[in-house]
Subunit: 291 residues, 4 copies
């Protein structure tokens, strides 16, 4: 990113504010829209009139998630509300836009208007950086919840996707006995290659009594009552999968098991890293355009 670029940043929460500051700090021109209730430091033109969005920017940055409901833009730090479609209609043809959790309606609207929308969540670079935050946040949750150390505890990570891979790496580094589960043979091989214990996800039931701590990353019901009933009485279960998650929480409560459903960790635990992940992803997108 050698030269000075023009960014329009529209709506969003604290992460979006920090993003404005990071971009300004790198020497770019930043115009902030729908962030009128936020305080920002650095050279940022704030409180801009949305009609200015008719101009072409090097990149327009919409919120994560882009909408607060089916229709409206997600603008918690503005006194005003904007229909997402109306904002999109302002952009000139060819405008590059970045946003989070873009639905098909919005992609279609963009397609009809000749606008190029990138969704952070479809980007490997963004997903990995978010998974780092989630993995660290999960470890912090476990440290807070337990009256013991993690060291030498036997721990199951259900699922070996982005979060599972990074969480396994970090827990292993803390001297935890790590078992990771996967459905596919290829992932089982990866788990072994990294030196962890491997178990088939379908066979968790047979082994669950071995674990002191369980992190779930699978967005399906894995920890049913039948499975939970075989767990240690003092197990700690941290579900990292988005709602409804992979744990039967009612059954867990009934059984007296200690559980946490840890959601949206990156924004809560490490908002600055979340903003940095957004910045890095935007730079990568613009770089790839330049290639």
């Amino acid at each position: 990113m050698p030269h000075k670029l023009n960014f329009a940043v529209v709506g969003g929460d604290e992460r979006q504010v920090k993003l404005c500051e990071l971009l300004a700090h790198d020497g770019h021109v930043v115009s902030a829209f729908a962030l009128d209730k936020a305080e920002m430091s650095g050279v940022i033109t704030s409180g801009c009139d949305t009609s200015e969005l008719r101009n072409k920017y090097d990149c327009v940055i919409l919120p994560v998630p882009v909408k607060s409901d089916a229709e409206y833009l997600n603008t918690p730090l503005s006194a005003y509300r904007y229909k997402a479609d109306d904002i999109l209609s302002l952009f000139p043809t060819g405008q590059i836009v970045v946003a989070g959790k873009v639905d098909n309606a919005l992609f279609a609207k963009a397609g009809r208007n000749g606008i190029r929308i990138y969704d952070y969540l479809e980007r490997e670079d963004f997903t990995v950086q978010s998974s780092v935050s989630t993995a660290e946040g999960a470890i912090e949750e476990a440290m807070k919840a337990l009256d013991t150390t993690l060291n030498q505890k036997s721990c199951l990570i259900a699922g070996f996707g982005h979060i599972g891979k990074i969480l396994a790496h970090y827990l292993d580094g803390l001297g935890v006995k790590v078992t990771a589960s996967a459905r596919k043979s290829g992932d089982i091989a990866w788990i072994s290659a990294y030196g962890y214990n491997a178990v088939r996800t379908a066979e968790i039931k047979e082994h669950i009594a071995d674990y002191d701590i369980i992190f779930n990353t699978i967005p399906h019901l894995i920890f049913t009552e039948a499975v939970l009933s075989r767990a240690k009485r003092n197990v700690f279960i941290c579900d990292l999968a988005s709602k409804p998650g992979g744990v039967d929480f009612a059954a867990a409560r009934e059984l007296g098991l200690k559980t946490v459903h840890a959601l949206s960790i990156p924004g809560k635990y490490a908002p600055m890293s979340a903003a940095e992940a957004m910045r890095d992803t935007i730079y990568n997108i613009l770089d790839e355009w330049g290639d």
Copy 2:
């Protein structure tokens, strides 16, 4: 520990209560003294009359720290107060006693009475287990204090003693860029052997601007105003050394640096692990007697 032993547990805080429960859970006979305000589960004879301490036990367990001031036993969970000397006078000759932070007066008293006192803090097994708790607690502190992830941050650990060694191992496992400092050439060699960056403690001043996070473990004033004034503005400093610590906190405040003086971590963050460390150390002591 194959057979059933007789333990007298006298005074102390929540850790001492958990210790009673752990010992009872292992099948031993546990008599609790000066813990009359504590609730305990398991087969423990609580509320015993101190005159019973004239009997011989396989081991008498005094608090950590053993005294609340120069004279009195540390009994926060009792309605009564006891002079440490008076309690010691009850024990029969040859009694094995374990306690924490035993002062010379108490060692001398024990010597005159033919009693064998072990201080947890002089035991490597206890110190290492406590250092695990301290290292994990320090990581939790940093995670809480920072609005970023630890991953890829540049981190200095001042001092490569028990806590420094374990903390370096864990932070390295979290993908942190670890530099550790030491005074002695031998420790510098150890730091390199483990794959970390090494710096002489006397040369921290020249390098301090490189670090995002600093953990101090040295119980001397290392981070003076002159050193702190060269640090990054957004550095986070966590002092783990017992009071007064190794950081000029007044100067740090003046400079606007974010600091935490994290004290007595094992008892606060992981009380169950603290009780387990006490139990393991007691078993080790009795085993060594048996050899």
Copy 3:
């Protein structure tokens, strides 16, 4: 794999012999073909007449690689030669066959005959296990080639695919300063998440003077004369990419650089692990059929 299966093992090298023994050891019925010069222990029916391949087996196992040239089966441990097509013609419809490096001609032949061929090399489980062998073999090569220890050396791994990921993990564990290169932003994020240094493959040229050891895993010419001319004089370069590799070896020789082109490591360094990878993959394939 609870029950006794019928395997036909045809041709191949020492790994195939060990595979026969592993399968027999697991209690299966093993018939060996075109391995007449090999000595085998365990209950294996060796020296079978190829006409028996008209029978249906639970699985027929062909060599890795399956052919020695365009036409003939790879049978270095047999006194006889067989055309691959002729052997394939013997198999009954529906036969499951596993082989390595299957070319389109053979896949087509199988398709016409209603035979199901699996290629090990298209299986993630097999590839990961082979990459473990390659990574360990690469480390052994470096240890042999260098008159220093690896610890604290600055090392570049070019490429962050299967081998790159595992090699980075292992070298990091040895206290090596690991930098990995990748082309894609997502892989750069992975490299950072694991705690290594990241560099864009296109920017290796600017950084090559920093490295003591270089492992190449990219099957394109990355280390041209222009790049190599900037390297340290005493660098060690180990090329792990299959022929022609990613290093201009002639230029390296001219410059006096120490290089090794390490090929086919799994079979050479850890033939038993290679056979185990074959066995595990076959079991996984048969399990997936059963699902």
Copy 4:
């Protein structure tokens, strides 16, 4: 080491030659004695007359080990032989001398002459750097000896001293299942803190059947016939303890176990690192004098 120093290097093997080159490369004045059969590059005054040793040098460097027998200096790269006492008699009072494996006779002689001899082997910095070489060499030995990968193998390290600590760290990094043994409770606590499995050395016998690979670092007979007879038939045992080592090799041979007695690894596997360890230790010694 800011300024130019005067070194006299006397006798020794290839490591001593490399040491001359390293010192010359750092800009020091190097006079080489009793190395007349060695070829050296760099600005070194070779083939000096031993009478010049009457001069005072910043440091005189004798061989590792200093003597080849009870009387003579260890000078394998010289056509001449020198009595150690005669050489020592030449040095002026106050001369700083560094050497390896100094016996009491030599220390006494030095004491009478007012000469200050340092023995590398009594220095923590040197011992740790040598242990890094030994640990890497041990891993190379195991890789060479085994027809499998190390990854996921179950491995015992007997003894948790310098070599045990570093070897455990490296093997863990390679995805090996590490168990380390120790006699003392403190070391058992360290082993757990680092995340390995711990076993009492006295209880190895009960667990030996679990291990695929065994490294011994204890200089006493631990692996007696009674212990070895319970090991896996295909175990690999690498004894790193100096002669006679800790393994009953005759019994192992009888039982058909694969063993290696790996001696003097640092000099053989990584002679340049051995020379660097000598250089670093000498610099540290001179620095400590300056303090």
